[in-house]
């Protein structure tokens, strides 16, 4: 990443969506509770490989890394995640329908 060739720096900006802010908040809270460190976040981001930086958005990479770190820390299991993912998907296709609160 650092030092590799790349095109112009993009000047577009966007307002953060609620789900993106929530990912950010989950990271801050989970790391302040001692479940992982910023180094752990970065390790998983780097393990994703270069392709992930082309195919996933910033907060998509982050939630993927936060999830991986929380599983490794034993906060929940992969089985619990799978059950919850299925449950969320079954609620409906929009954010409003899938939100339980």
């Amino acid at each position: 990443m650092g030092g590799t060739a790349a095109g112009p720096v993009p000047d577009a900006s966007h307002d953060f969506a609620l789900w993106e802010k929530r990912v950010d908040a989950l990271l801050v809270i989970a790391s302040s509770e001692g479940h992982f460190t910023v180094d752990g976040l970065r390790r998983v981001l780097e393990d994703m490989g270069e392709e992930a930086f082309e195919t996933m958005s910033y907060y998509e990479r982050w939630i993927s890394s936060v999830n991986q770190n929380l599983i490794e820390a034993g906060v929940y299991t992969t089985a619990e995640l799978a059950t919850k993912m299925t449950e969320v998907a079954a609620r409906g296709p929009t954010y409003g329908e899938a939100a339980s609160d």
Binding site: P10, H14, I29, E33, R42, I63
Partner: protein, 211 residues
Amino acid sequence: MPHDHHDHLSPSGHPYRPDNDHPLTYWQQMEIAVRELLIEKGVTTAAEISAQIDAMDARSPTDGAKVVARAWTDPAFREALFADASAATREMGFDIGPMRLIALENTAEVHNVVVCTLCSCYPRNLLGLPPDWYKSRAYRARTVKEPRKVLAEFGVDLPDGTTVRVHDSTADMRYVVIPMRPEGTEGLDEEALAALVTRDSMIGTGLAKAP
């Protein structure tokens, strides 16, 4: 004007933006799942997550601008800031937590610019969330290799004699640039000075505005 570069603008003159009402992506479903699991496991609460988002939204570069304006006008604070920026900014109410904050002084001889090549570490306690370009692959890849060219794209053309120092953030360390005080600002008070301090001037991709 059918064939000019305004084609991607809406009739109101704003660029078209996708709404957030498309079907949930896999990663958005994962955000919901992780958030609910953390609440069920007692790691956090919905209220705590909302409070964290509110606190983040409340931070903005105007916080950092206050620090810069004070450094320009208060010699004792300036000294404290360059000695230990974490403590000096905490005293102003901008707590960076356990991380180390380092203030970098731009002068006629040295221009500092900050990047995070590994992800997007940024002095959020002073500037809020980082802009999209700071997190972009292009900025992170090129700033360490051809900083003058990147700076020129931001409109910062430095004399050849100016030393450019690029600072790469780490997980435990954050940098904030203290830009040069513009000329002709001798009579201005701290508030008027703070209005001249832009976000980019504190990253190093800009200069403080002229009065």
